[in-house]
Every structure is written in C-alpha cells, then in structure tokens.
C-alpha cells in the first residue's frame, strides 16, 4: 500500500514538474498550407512560374525531355538510313552476282 502511495506521489510530482516545461515550449509555427496537387482535370494557365524555387530544377527536366526526343529521333533516322544503305549495297552485290551467273556462298 505504501509502495503504491509512493509511486502515485512520484507520478503526480513528475507531471507537476513537467507541466511548466511543456508550457515553456516555443509556440508552434503556423502550419504551412499543403502544396496544391498537380492538376488532373484542367490546366489553368498563369503568366509566370509558380514560385522561384519551383523554377530551379524544372528547366533541367524540360531540357532533358526535349533533348531526349531529338536524340531518339535523329538516332532512329540514322539507324534507318544505315540499314537502307546496307540493303542497297547488298542488292548491288547480289544483282552483279546474278548478272554474272554465280551462286550465293
């Protein structure tokens, strides 16, 4: 019984001591409004980027996106051109071979 009484007193004292500490805590800064989610239903145009911080990494991403499109496009065109010239060369060789009457190795 005495032990229980002593424990209850200790808990009460601790709470009393901690209460002012809790009261002295700096006032919490007002919560930042959550960022607006990206538009899904309709794009609303504005005349400037949303915020200066926002504009920082976006140009890099936009540049990479557009650069990648050009790279893929020119790479593909070059690949088609290479394949076409290879086939043309082979047609030339086979036509000459057919003209001279020789067989495929």
């Amino acid at each position: 019984m005495t032990t229980l009484k002593r424990f209850a007193t200790a808990v009460l004292m601790s709470l009393l001591l901690l209460a002012p500490l809790r009261a002295q805590q700096p006032p919490q800064t007002p919560q930042q409004p959550p960022p607006k989610p990206a538009a899904q239903d309709e794009f609303v145009p504005v005349n400037a980027p949303v915020s200066p911080q926002d504009a920082m990494p976006a140009p890099r991403l936009v540049a990479i996106a557009y650069g990648f499109i050009w790279l893929v496009f020119f790479g593909y065109l070059a690949s088609v051109k290479m394949r076409l010239s290879k086939v043309e060369k082979e047609i030339d060789v086979v036509s000459r071979r057919a003209g001279s009457g020789s067989r495929r190795p």
Binding site: K36, A39, Q40, F43, P57, L84, I91
Partner: protein
C-alpha cells in the same frame, strides 16, 4: 504521288519542329506545375502518335492475317518499330514531368502501367520478328493485334481508375494560349510519323526485293 509529296511534307514538318519550341515558350505556365508542364506539348503529342503507330501496326497485321498481302506486313513491322521508338519517348518524358509534378519518377497506376505494357507488347513483336524464325510473321501479327487492342484501355484508364496522371478532359479544356501550341505539336508529330513510316516501309520493300534476288540466284 507519295514521292512527289514527300519532299514538300518533309520541309513543312522540319519547319514546324523548328517553330514548335517558340510556340511552347510563348505558351502560358500552368498554375500548379509551372515550367515543367511544358513537357506536356511533346509528351502528349508523342502519346497520340504512339496510338497512331499502334493502330497502323494492328491494322496492318489484321490485313496481313486475312489477305496475306506483303505490303500489309511491311506496314505492320514499320508501325510496330515506330510504336517502340515513340513509346520510349513517352515513357521517358513522362517520368521527367512526373518527378517535378508528383514528386516521384514513376507510379504503378493504370495509365503508366498500361502504357508500359503496350510498349512491351510492341517490343515483343519486334523480338518475335527478329528471332522467331519461319512463321513468326503470322504469330507476330497476332501480338500486334493485342497491342492495338490495348490502345482504348490506355486512353480511358485515367477516367476509370484513380491515378495521378492528368485526365483526358485536359485536352478539350485547354485554354487558347495552350491549345494552339498543343495541336501544332500534335500535327508536327503526326506528319513526322507519316514520313518516317513511309521511309521505314521503303526499307522493308527493299529487303523484300533483296530476298527475291537471293531466291532468283538460288534457282
């Protein structure tokens, strides 16, 4: 007719692609995404062209399966290769936009996953054509039909399932400052697709001629 139109169309397309960045730069910023939303003009245009490429490959495959016309097969192969290339553009530019707009590169939602599946189907088609051996043309044609059947699912996925991706309603609701550059880019992409498809089908045609020459030589 095609040969006469090819050069003027190529000049028009090149001019459109040269002018497109200026139109995109002049377009207004989007209120929630800012500058990064400008990826939309090429990303969505490439997405529409991907649907066109899938349709060309699917229709070509269907025609080939029913009529066995070699030109239909050439159309299917060329469409599938372009679907693979344009799909890569869509799947790379999308995450670049998403990283800034959503805070993540990728989300396993219905639109992104179904687009990836469609791209994989057309890559499977090309692998089957390359390594499938005799008879793979008909088997691959069936694969392309599945690829084309995926198009409506990819398109409607954003309206049916919960997703972070913009819905199909953004296109008809585009404001005049955004609408002009967007449809300009779509037209440029579709013209480019048509021209490259003609060139790619020409390559298949020459390959067929080479095969005939080899057969003639064997005889």
């Amino acid at each position: 007719m095609t040969n006469r139109l090819f050069v003027p169309l190529a000049i028009v397309t090149a001019a459109m692609f040269a002018y497109a960045p200026f139109m995109i730069l002049g377009a207004p910023y989007e209120s929630t995404m800012g500058l990064v939303q400008k990826i939309f003009y090429f990303h969505a245009s490439a997405g529409m062209t991907l649907f066109a490429a899938a349709a060309v490959s699917g229709i070509g495959s269907a025609l080939f399966l029913f009529t066995r016309k070699p030109w239909a097969d050439r159309m299917a192969v060329s469409g599938a290769e372009l679907a693979s290339i344009i799909g890569l553009v869509v799947l790379v530019t999308g995450p670049l936009w998403a990283r800034k707009a959503w805070g993540v590169w990728w989300q396993w939602d219905a639109r992104l996953t179904s687009t990836l599946v469609m791209w994989l189907i057309f890559n499977a088609y090309l692998l089957l054509r390359k390594y499938g051996g005799p008879g793979s043309d008909r088997l691959a044609a069936a694969v392309a039909l599945f690829g084309m059947a995926n198009v409506p699912f990819v398109y409607w996925s954003v309206n049916v399932w919960r997703t972070l991706h913009p819905k199909t309603s953004v296109i008809p609701s585009l404001q005049p400052g955004m609408r002009g550059p967007f449809w300009f880019c779509v037209l440029a992409f579709l013209l480019l697709f048509t021209l490259v498809l003609i060139v790619r089908m020409g390559l298949e045609h020459r390959r067929a001629e080479l095969d005939e020459l080899y057969l003639a030589l064997e005889d």
